[in-house]
């Protein structure tokens, strides 16, 4: 039941975020606005307990939620056949660049703190 109340909060915040995002023409997608609203609402214990239960459940199965979109790769087989190797190379190299740059920036800050 507490998990269900948490889901209700998440959906309510997402809906509110969607309304604000579309109504005011914000650059953020609705769920992102919802996340920011929830961050403010988490000050209230009334929101915090149910959200914790639901968020932990949802986030611990996060990778499942990407499967339906991932299977969509099969609808782009034509594009993949033509450019697949190049696209994969670009994705692999740019992902490595992102990982390395992020981790090195963090370590550089830590180095400065320790010095």
């Amino acid at each position: 039941m507490i998990g269900l109340r948490g889901l209700a909060w998440l959906l309510a915040m997402q809906s509110l975020g969607e309304l604000l995002s579309r109504g005011l023409g914000l650059p953020f997608p609705g769920p992102v606005v919802g996340m920011l609203l929830l961050l403010l609402a988490l000050r209230l214990p009334l929101v915090r307990e149910p959200v914790a239960a639901c968020a932990n459940f949802l986030l611990s199965h996060l990778s499942l939620l990407f499967v339906p979109v991932g299977v969509g790769v099969m609808t782009h087989l034509g594009l993949l056949g033509q450019y697949g190797a190049r696209m994969l190379a670009v994705i692999v190299l740019s992902t490595w660049t992102g990982l390395v740059v992020t981790v090195l920036v963090l370590r550089a800050f830590k180095g400065k703190r320790d010095a």
Partner: protein, 241 residues
Amino acid sequence: MPKFVELWVYLSATPLFGLTATLVVYVLAQALYARLGQAAWANPVLWSVVTLASLLTFTGVDYPTYFSGAQFIHFLLGPAVVALAWPLWERRSALRQHWRALLAAALVGGLAASGSALLLGWLVDLPHDVVLSLAPKSVTAPVAMGIADKIGGIPALAAVFAVVTGMVGALSAKSLFGLLKIPTDTDGWMARGFSLGTAAHGIGAARALQVNPDAGAFAGLALGLHVVLASLLMPLLFRLF
């Protein structure tokens, strides 16, 4: 036999099929992953996608029919993005303490990931809308679709790129961090997790969460931060150029 064929034709066209297939295949892939000591190459998203795509191709069920059932799982990506407020809230003291370093890392790392994708995509001569769809690939899939739509990319392709990016990050982060000699103390796990969340979003965060709780929390933090930064900055930057 014809009875069976009739039943199959009926069942494969109902939403029940896509939903059941997705859950069953994922549960099996997850069990296999646990059995193999959570080896990076056994990534459950990768193998679920491969298995389901093969299954659909083999049985002749088309993607829209599959998605009519799988959409119930896909829908939860929205509430999951909202739920990211929770790890942010939980780590608010660390966030307050290290906000300069974390903000700089998410900003520079995110820019490096999209910038290098745009540059490389342009260098190898990919079509323009494909290159634009590559830009938001380090942001979590549902947000990447929204950004791609705003900057002139193809949303469905951006989502696929995001999923592939997540898998590449989850598969290779360990070896990459090992090469860079990032330690495995608390600070090291924080940096490893944050980097995975920035460059490889939810799939990277899921991997980080399984390896180490500190890494997982900071991956969630990075994911949330990157979502906010990218959805604010990317459409703005593209409007300028």
